[in-house]
Amino acid sequence: MSLFLCGSHRRYDILTNNDNKLWMYNPIDLLNGEKMVESIIEMTDVVKKYGDKAAINGLTMAVRKGELFGFLGPNGAGKTTTIRVISTLTDFSEGTVKVAGIDIKKDPRNAKDHMGVIQQAISLDKDLTIRENMMHHAMMHKVPADERKKRIQELSDFIGLDEYLDRMVDSLSGGWKKKAAIVCALVHKPDILFLDEPTVGLDVKARRLLWDLIKKLNEEGTTIFLTSHYIEEIELLCDRVGIIDLGKLIALGTPQELCNKVGSTAVEYRENEETKYKYFTDRDQAKDFVSVLDDHDQIVIRNTNLEDCFVELTGKSVGGR
């Protein structure tokens, strides 16, 4: 259940989880809160419907400038639709979206200058070489003619793509294709880079290289908006995490904050041939609980992770229904 309380200058979203605990957070505080952190994306009451079904249902959220923001949710939760809405690929019926302070409905072309998007599927032109794809992106993003070649070379050096530049897209492995997509998205120096499930289909080595690249880009000042249903990816990389389900933001905070909300210590135990989980604010409480359990062989006490948080919040496993 979600309930909006509107005050004169604040609005709180009150959520209840399966245990009917009340959680409170205020996405708008990110704009008006104590730290006064500058936001680069502001979404307010955004609704996107496909027919009668709402893919995004009153989404209010802000992403801070310079942060690595993770967007987590099960399949069909609205992650990709959110990116498509922000990047102007998909129209929305209600609400406002601002990117770098620009209303994307009023001035979409100006807003697009600030964004680079790497879609879930590789969206390069496979009939062209990597260099041609990069040049085409640079032209369409109106990078000045005298800067294009220099910029391509810089990015190619940055990612180590030099030897692949004149190869056709389809001749590259999945990891290199993804890197090529990233350099294309960066060619106009966007302030914010959207990565929609960038590591899907990559092997472990390619995934780790991509994680390093994402961190490097963020350290150099690019705001990263990363969606994934790989929980460890979000936990490892992101400063803050938003969890979306059924088109609504159901939690927002740092990974640690989200875990603390559930309880920082998790107990995993077997009961009636089923694995069960219980969360506690500290280890002592967890130990007290364990001491009264029968079968001590199959009990694990560990730190709570984001997946626990997600399941506790929604009652669903990450990545599926």
Binding site: D125, D127, M140
Partner: protein, 249 residues
């Protein structure tokens, strides 16, 4: 206006690279079917026949040039855009660039314009080698360019509306193929019954054939057909812009 044309060039640049990689393929495929039509209908069936006072071969070549402007412009634009939109997803990248919908549509129509012009020009040059009845006039150039633009915009529209590769094939079978054979390319539309003429004159290729033939054979120029074809061209362009602008794709 200048900015729109400049942006259209940026959009078209990708297709120019595509053409560079596939030059011979494009060239051969642009002239193969009109050449076959010329051999089969011009020489095979039409040898010794006259139509509206000229040898059939001279009558049919402007019709085949019009047909080429349709088939080459439509299919090259529609096929590539369809692939880019539904399979490569690279059309999304264009939509995420700071470009106006008009410049995207103009840019994407360039490939069709080029292939239509190449195909029509080659078939016309070939025709001039076999008959002395054909002329090159300014109105001929205007007519061919307008036809290529019209059918390129139609190709963009088909690709934007297509839900799958199959729906593109259906569009071609239901709209393009009947136009190819019926719209005054191989025979005079005036020879058909009145009720059928009404249908034929509601289709753009009939007007395209009519103006290209009149310009090529130095007949009295059918200005009304030019205006109607121009109206089709504008209408297709406006629909394309709407589809992109409203993201109804």
């Amino acid at each position: 206006m200048f900015q729109t044309i400049k942006d259209a060039y940026y959009v078209a640049w990708g297709d120019m690279c595509f053409m560079k990689h596939n030059f011979w393929n494009i060239l051969v495929s642009s002239v193969m079917s009109p050449l076959l039509y010329l051999l089969a209908f011009g020489y095979g069936l039409g040898n010794g026949i006259t139509m509206e006072g000229v040898p059939y071969i001279a009558f049919i070549i402007p019709g085949i040039a019009a047909l080429t402007s349709l088939s080459a412009s439509f299919s090259s634009t529609a096929t590539r855009l369809n692939v880019q939109r539904l399979y490569y997803k690279s059309f999304d990248e264009m939509l995420m660039c700071p470009l106006s919908p008009a410049s995207i549509i103009l840019g994407k129509s360039f490939l069709g314009l080029f292939r239509g012009l190449v195909g029509a020009t080659l078939i016309y040059i070939l025709g001039m080698c076999v008959t002395s009845e054909l002329y090159v006039t300014p109105m001929l150039i205007v007519s061919v360019v307008l036809s290529c633009f019209t059918f390129s915009f139609l190709g963009v529209m088909a690709a934007l509306l297509a839900k799958s590769h199959q729906s593109m094939a259906t569009f071609s079978s239901m709209i393009i193929l009947p136009m190819t054979f019926l719209c005054g390319t191989f025979f005079s539309a005036a020879a058909m019954p009145a009720w059928f003429q009404a249908i034929l004159y509601a289709l753009p290729l009939t007007h395209s054939s009519s103006i290209i033939r009149a310009a090529a054979l130095d007949w009295s120029f059918p200005w009304i057909s030019l205006v109607v074809l121009f109206a089709f061209c504008v209408a297709f362009f406006v629909i394309d812009v709407y589809l992109v602008k409203a993201r109804r794709i």
